[in-house]
């Protein structure tokens, strides 16, 4: 039982801790799991989260930065004042918990539709687009020399990867072919500046409270590249959850996002942001196709996965709205 191992672990590195309680698995595939638990401490319970690859699942998928890089990035972000959970402990072999880390639990909401609809976030919503701009500016300014080793990604390489992924699906989609062609014809080439890119910064991967963004999660796709990628991805229509006239996560306008970004002494290249938004829309569409393929080839023969295949058409209409808009 994981609780016994966690109890032994916290006693080693958390002074005064006696045990853990309330252990519950929040999510998990075969190779990566997230658990919540409370550390029993004389000064009161400490909420914590474990992110780990269980024993025997050391190797990370090719695109992922890996859990130890994730822990380093979150700690760096935390120290730089970018909203992020504090990393409390990086797992060692003697923890007997696999590889990964334990972080402080940040209370708040991550479910995008709740954040966009519930009254408790009504006051925060109009401020979020600008706030997100400021957070991304902070994230892109994290010191390069302190970053863990990360893969480097540029537009040209990304387009050929998408092309390969699309072709491997053997799923003729003229709209995807059109988008790929558009991306190749409009490839802006290497960016002037290379920074840390979060890689999956969007509504759904943020812990939000009535006071705004409390933590940025899911750093597993972090890499080095064009900072405008994060600004484009956060605007992809799939992450607006129905609030299609508010490009930034359903919260607000691009102008607010850009103003928040530039207020933190960073420059926006709006054309590159748009390029990355098209790229991101196609990226999610191809991912939907990948889910369908995994559903077919099993082991995950779930209905949910099957239905995600039927969401690729959402990205097709969004690509057409971007590339071939009809008159109003």
């Amino acid at each position: 039982m994981i609780e016994a191992e966690l109890s032994r672990s916290v006693q080693r590195w958390c002074s005064g801790a006696t045990a853990v309680t309330g252990t519950a698995k929040l999510s998990g595939g075969a190779s990566q799991e997230t658990w919540r638990f409370d550390i029993v401490h004389p000064s009161g319970a400490i909420g914590a989260i474990l992110r780990r690859s269980p024993k025997g699942y050391g190797a990370a998928p090719t695109r992922a930065a890996g859990l130890s890089a994730e822990a380093q990035l979150m700690q760096l972000a935390y120290e730089a004042g970018v909203p992020s959970p504090r990393v409390m402990h990086v797992l060692t072999p003697e923890d007997d918990l696999g590889t990964g880390f334990i972080m402080q639990r940040v209370e708040g909401e991550t479910i995008a539709r709740k954040i966009l609809r519930d009254d408790e976030f009504a006051a925060a919503r109009p401020l979020l687009a600008r706030q997100i701009g400021g957070i991304l500016a902070g994230l892109h300014q994290l010191p390069r020399d302190k970053l863990p080793e990360l893969r480097s990604r540029g537009t040209t390489q990304e387009i050929s990867d998408f092309e390969r992924d699309y072709r491997s699906l053997s799923w003729p989609k003229p709209v995807f072919a059109l988008a790929l062609r558009w991306l190749r014809d409009h490839d802006p080439g290497p960016s002037i500046e290379t920074t840390l890119v979060h890689g999956d910064f969007r509504n759904g991967n943020l812990i939000i409270g009535p006071d705004g963004v409390r933590a940025v999660l899911d750093w597993e796709l972090a890499h080095l590249g064009d900072p405008m990628e994060d600004l484009g991805w956060v605007c992809v229509n799939s992450w607006r959850f129905g609030e299609i006239d508010k490009p930034v996560g359903g919260f607000g306008s691009r102008e607010e996002l850009f103003a928040g970004y530039e207020a933190a002494a960073r420059k926006v290249d709006a054309a590159r942001v748009r390029f990355w938004e098209v790229m991101g829309t196609l990226r999610w569409g191809i991912m939907c196709g990948g889910m369908m393929q995994r559903f077919r080839q099993g082991p995950d023969h779930s209905m949910e996965r099957a239905m995600i295949g039927r969401r690729a058409s959402e990205t097709e209409i969004d690509l057409l709205r971007l590339l071939a808009p009809r008159g109003s």
Binding site: P172, P174, V175, E304, R310, R311, E314, L320
Partner: protein, 125 residues
């Protein structure tokens, strides 16, 4: 010719049974999975209702656009290849209209509540 009820009627009767009689009995993660199952049956009903007509029109447009014949899959494959090679693009008469019509027909089956689709449907196009 197969007997009746039709596939549409049969699928719809299962969806209605799950929705009306089983949903009130189930909670938690199983209730979520049940909702997904009902959504699948509803999608299937829409596809069985709409596919024949929309595929026929799609094939007709593709034949005109490509000046060739084939199944709906073959024609889509050919169009995707021509777009990839740059032989056909948005300046080609009829391409944008074709892609819009085909995509709208897909959304009508897959996700008729998707906000972008409802917006475009409102344009009456």
């Amino acid at each position: 010719m197969q007997d009746e009820p039709t596939p549409i009627e049969l699928t719809k009767s299962v969806a209605d049974f799950l929705r009306n009689d089983i949903t009130p009995l189930i909670s938690g993660h199983q209730a979520f999975k049940l909702r997904v199952a009902i959504n699948i049956l509803d999608l299937l009903t829409r596809q069985l209702t709409l596919e024949e007509g929309s595929d026929a029109k799609e094939v007709e447009r593709l034949r005109a656009l490509l000046n060739m014949d084939g199944s709906v899959t073959e024609l889509n494959r050919a169009l995707a290849e021509r777009i990839a090679r740059g032989e056909v693009d948005l300046a080609t008469p009829g391409l944008a209209e074709h892609l819009w019509a085909t995509t709208m027909d897909k959304l009508a089956v897959d996700q008729p509540n998707y906000a972008s689709y409802k917006r475009e449907l409102g344009r009456g196009g």
